[in-house]
Amino acid sequence: MAIDQATVRKIASLARIAISDAEAAAMEGELNGILGWVEQLGEVDVTGVEPMTAVIPNILRLRDDIVDADPLTGGNRRDDILANAPAPQHGFFGVPKVIE
């Protein structure tokens, strides 16, 4: 199905990407081209076929119920986690004011 510029803007807003009118116009053609092409999948008979969820059969492991079991992925790494934040403040991630 063809998508129009209003739909392009709606997708962009869902994706949290600001776009200009010119970009929306350019993207309308590109997205329609790609979506028109993928629509050939509709002709495949998938009756009784399960959608793939795991490409190689594997058992989902649960980690041990221990706090900070892995020093790399556990806690007490505040400074490391904030090290690349654009605006850290007082040990937190800073964001623009959300509440008036």
């Binding site: 990407i17 993928v38 959608p51």
Partner: protein, 493 residues
């Protein structure tokens, strides 16, 4: 003595072990090549000091008798792997200046094995691209030129194009790559080197910047099959930090290498014979069939009936996963922040993502967002996942009658930079032979097999059963020995 930068990984490892040269000499030689090849734009960050430090350790370890499996071997690291203390960008503006405080599992394993790092290799932005023209840090250029009197800059393939260009130009003996829909195999084919994508789950994805998590898989790129086996042994292995990591022992692929294919059956998929394809590609494929027969294999015709649907399914599934994975780049926790005046939080997200992502990344996030949105999820995403099941089933049935599958790696030789950028679909079609194995999670490798009429390398692809990297490597070795491919790009950079 041969130039150190012409040695393979195995030759460097063994020569260092034997005391023929020091690891510092090797690192210095490669550092010099890296420094002298800026025209290729293969590296985003050069780390000569890292390579030298590892080399000094390797030399000390040799003196102390505590050599590690890859002591003395410097490598290139695709800039998709998080490296502790070294900028990791995924070739994006979004992550420019990002310096991880942790190390990816695969890179850590290579350092533990004794490798040094020559630098972080350029790639298509967030690994999205087939030509290395989407990097924020500029195009990577292939060292190869067409023999047509022209001087066109050629694509090194993508997304691991920094890796392929650097290896072909002797800036490193081997490098890491990642393959989501052909990103190791296609660039390897374009520059005349080898590369293997192992079974999905063999290499940990922990610390690799995510593109499409159900497809992304790390693997090595190197000049020959043996080096790929050596590198893969040192990259693979179970990692509890990656839920999709396979809890299986890592085989000794190098030790079991054998090009004797007696008793093996090689499947030739009829659906890969595309109408109107470059005759050089078909001729190379036929030559490859003859080589495998010569190695003792029996050749059988097979059918993979859903092949034509693999690319469209891929271009739903990969963008869908990408739109979800790349939601993390919000200007809050790391990376770029673009805060227009008086902007609220939502405006900051939108401005940051508009500024930080390149056009191809935005295009894929938009496609992914659309196919996952309410009302379209079943028509696009669920349908694609069902087709993916059928594609995997095609392979399963084929492997009932054969051990490995032989096909071309890509439908063309390297194309010129800019030749395909105007049409995203034309670019996507370049991955037509690589994507099916990715969707099915199977091990697959590319080995250089011939030069085309323009003097450019062409690659043959071997696809194997899940977990059978050995079968893939062995068939690759049989081709390598018979093709005798030793062409290399003339130095112009």
């Amino acid at each position: 003595m041969t130039e150190l930068t012409n040695l393979t990984v195995a030759e460097i490892r063994d020569g260092h072990r034997a005391g023929d040269f020091s690891a510092v000499e090797v690192a210095e030689a490669f550092n010099a090549n890296v420094a002298g090849a800026k025209a290729l734009n293969a590296f985003i960050v050069e780390t000569p000091e890292h390579a030298i430090a590892a080399a000094k350790t390797a030399d000390a370890d040799r003196a102390a008798g505590t050599l590690k499996p890859l002591s003395g071997v410097p490598i290139g690291m695709k800039d998709l792997f998080a490296t502790n203390g070294v900028q990791t960008t995924a070739a994006s503006h979004m992550l420019e200046g990002f310096v991880p405080r942790y190390e990816s599992t695969v890179s850590q394993k290579l350092w533990d094995a004794g490798c040094g790092m020559l630098g972080k290799l350029n790639l298509d932005q967030f690994a999205m691209g087939s030509s290395n023209e989407t990097s924020y840090f500029g195009n990577v250029i292939s060292p190869w030129k067409r023999k047509d009197g022209g001087n066109a800059a050629l694509a090194p393939g993508g997304s691991s194009g920094g890796s392929s260009s650097a290896i072909a130009a002797r800036l490193c003996p081997a490098a890491t790559g990642t393959d989501t829909g052909g990103s190791i195999r296609q660039p390897a084919a374009f520059v005349g080197i080898s590369g293997i994508k192992p079974t999905y789950g063999r290499c940990s994805r922990w610390g690799i910047v995510a593109f499409a998590s159900s497809l992304d898989q790390a693997g090595p790129m190197a000049r020959d099959v043996k080096d790929c086996a050596i590198m893969l042994e040192n990259m693979a292995g179970f990692d509890p930090k990656d839920a999709t990591s396979l809890n299986l022992p890592v085989p000794n692929w190098e030790a079991a290498l054998s090009s004797d294919l007696k008793g093996k059956k090689v499947g030739i998929p009829k659906e890969y014979r595309l109408e109107g394809i470059d005759p050089d590609i078909d001729a190379m494929w036929d030559a490859g069939i003859a080589m495998l027969k010569d190695a003792g294999a029996e050749v059988v015709d097979i059918s993979l009936p859903h092949t034509k649907y693999a690319l469209p399914a891929y271009y739903i599934i990969a963008p869908a996963e990408a739109s979800s994975n790349l939601a993390r780049y919000d200007g809050v926790r790391y990376g770029l922040r673009d805060l227009p005046e008086k902007a609220g939080l939502q405006d900051m997200y939108a401005a940051t993502r508009a500024d930080g992502f390149g056009p191809e990344v935005k295009r894929r996030i938009m496609i992914g967002t659309y196919v996952l949105s309410a009302g379209f999820y079943d028509a696009y995403y669920t349908q694609a996942q069902k087709v993916r099941t059928l594609i995997a089933r095609d392979f399963e049935q084929a492997f009932g009658v054969c051990d490995v599958i032989l096909a071309p790696t890509a439908p063309s030789a390297a194309f010129g930079l800019g030749e395909k950028t105007a049409d995203p679909l034309a670019m996507y079609l370049n991955d037509v032979f690589a994507v099916p194995a990715s969707l099915a999670g199977l091990p697959a490798m590319s080995v250089p097999a011939a030069l085309n009429r323009e003097g450019l390398p062409l690659g043959l692809q071997i696809i194997g059963k899940a977990f059978d990297e050995q079968g893939v490597l062995n068939a690759g070795l049989a081709i390598e020995e018979r093709a005798g491919f030793n062409a290399r790009a003339e130095k112009w950079w």
